[in-house]
Symmetry: C2
Subunit: 360 residues, 2 copies
Amino acid sequence: MTGSRISGQVRIVGAGLLGASIGHGLRAGGVDVILDDASRSNLRLAIDYGAGRAAAPDDDPRLVVVAVPPDVTAEVVARELAAYPAALVTDVASVKSSIRSELVEAGADVERYVGSHPMAGRERGGAISARADIFEGRPWVICGGTIAQRRQLEDLALELGAVPVSMTPEEHDAAVALVSHVPQVVSSLLAARLIGAPDPAVSLAGQGLRDTTRIAGSAPELWVQILSANAGAVARILRAYRDDLDAVLSALEAPDAPGARRGIAEALASGNTGVARIPGKHGTSKQFARIVVKVEDRPGELGRLLAEMGDLGVNMEDLRLEHSPRAQVGFAEIAVLPEVEQRLVADLQERGWSIMGALE
Amino acid sequence: MTGSRISGQVRIVGAGLLGASIGHGLRAGGVDVILDDASRSNLRLAIDYGAGRAAAPDDDPRLVVVAVPPDVTAEVVARELAAYPAALVTDVASVKSSIRSELVEAGADVERYVGSHPMAGRERGGAISARADIFEGRPWVICGGTIAQRRQLEDLALELGAVPVSMTPEEHDAAVALVSHVPQVVSSLLAARLIGAPDPAVSLAGQGLRDTTRIAGSAPELWVQILSANAGAVARILRAYRDDLDAVLSALEAPDAPGARRGIAEALASGNTGVARIPGKHGTSKQFARIVVKVEDRPGELGRLLAEMGDLGVNMEDLRLEHSPRAQVGFAEIAVLPEVEQRLVADLQERGWSIMGALE
């Protein structure tokens, strides 16, 4: 890498996955990174892995990044604002309004605090899992600040390969409630219904259940902090969700009543409309053609398929695997640009692959 | 294929994806397959594609398979029972109790009816998408019947590569409500919350939202039939879900009240417990090691990775792709047996791949 957008020292408080990953990314650009952590052993580990150096008495950071759990973020930000009166202080917690309120209440110098939130998609793993590139191509939300302050945080995001996005703290919290916090609650509550179900029932589980409950495996300790800190925004969306659920439930309790089936159909159709809004890989909700290829379950088969697609010059826009429980066969659903679908199907069939209908 | 488990003619009513796929599978074993469909053009298409032959006056099927939409299944089963008094009649609809009740009410000869449900995982696509192998390794639920009748349907399932599972109609309906119908409602209602959300909020969507809302894209016409026909079992589970949701909502509305955080944490922990019950690829919930590899977004890159894994003799147990919106890079999360993880990471790194921490 040739030079860095960042001038001066950067101090990172919290040497977990996010903090250490920021450290790795900045060090790659030659930045002087100071690491701190309440746990001496975490700190030692992150320094050993090359995420930065230990603090020194004459440190003079221009930027402090607080990367500690949400429930102690405000407290640490306030302490850093006081300790480094010339620095801009930011944090990377996944909630923003409540941290700002806590700082205002505590009488902190909030003029030098600008919250941010890198949507890195992985918040577990600690310093050992830290990598410079976990922010690549991800949104990095920046909440408020002066033009100069925002510029400083945009440079941080860009330096790490992220895409800076400007939002108010309230816009941010409503957005993450919608795309992250409410889905977490919905998924956890759905998975909880599996407790106590008979084994044969659970054994009928297919890809639909697997997908809807995957995030139910998330760490409760972290999520209770996130949900509590964003309780208002989450509750607002969950109330609307609960009202929709009650309507469907009423319809199901009397499915032959006038309007019941129409009500159910409208709920399902609204789901179609909503899911179509989710941006695809390239930031649009462009429709790809999807083909399903049968893949034997032995080493290298899927690799062979994808290598042959590469030979054919076809780029895969998305890939989903579906397994057959108890069988040595799987299905690869491959999304490609619609214009290449026909040729790809013909070429793959010619090479002996079984092409099947689209997955549900 | 050498011979078939099936003796005598099989008549299939409904030449959509399921019916035509059964036809293809049986024909591959040399079975005389008679196809029928209310739509002459559907029927023509399925016959052209080789799923069976048209009915003839002297047909004498030993088995009739009704593969029509759920809302007309009972009616068609009753008609077939009357038309072929020597045949066992089954259906493949995804609900079972209500069809049996309708038949009893209609005075049909239910002694010769045994319901079944192949969990083929894809119910759309029509005759063109039909393939003999969509049942391979999938559960095929058989509800009731005498030993001889069950044997006849088990042979049908085995002939198509499916795994026969015995359940009562009530057990089946409770099971699919849990693993399929309730997840559909939950996912559709969640996706519906995206309607009207600001674009910047939706643009923060990550893999969690994508996974939880994927099945919200399902066809409302089919699903309103399924949900109405299994309304009782679905409502029973949704009521318990709604009660859990109300409890979380109350906690979020007063997150500082005594017990509120504990309540939220317990809901999340129950989600952990529930999701751990879902069987993995090989019919167990065995834990795999998961490694994440950075993959450039160009043709053949993922293929090259998987081919190299094949060269290393490592079988992939599961694969998940995560994309970076607006970036030409993606991440492949690969599940492998824990005992091969270390060697694989070392070998891949040696070959120049970037290995990252586990995805959330």
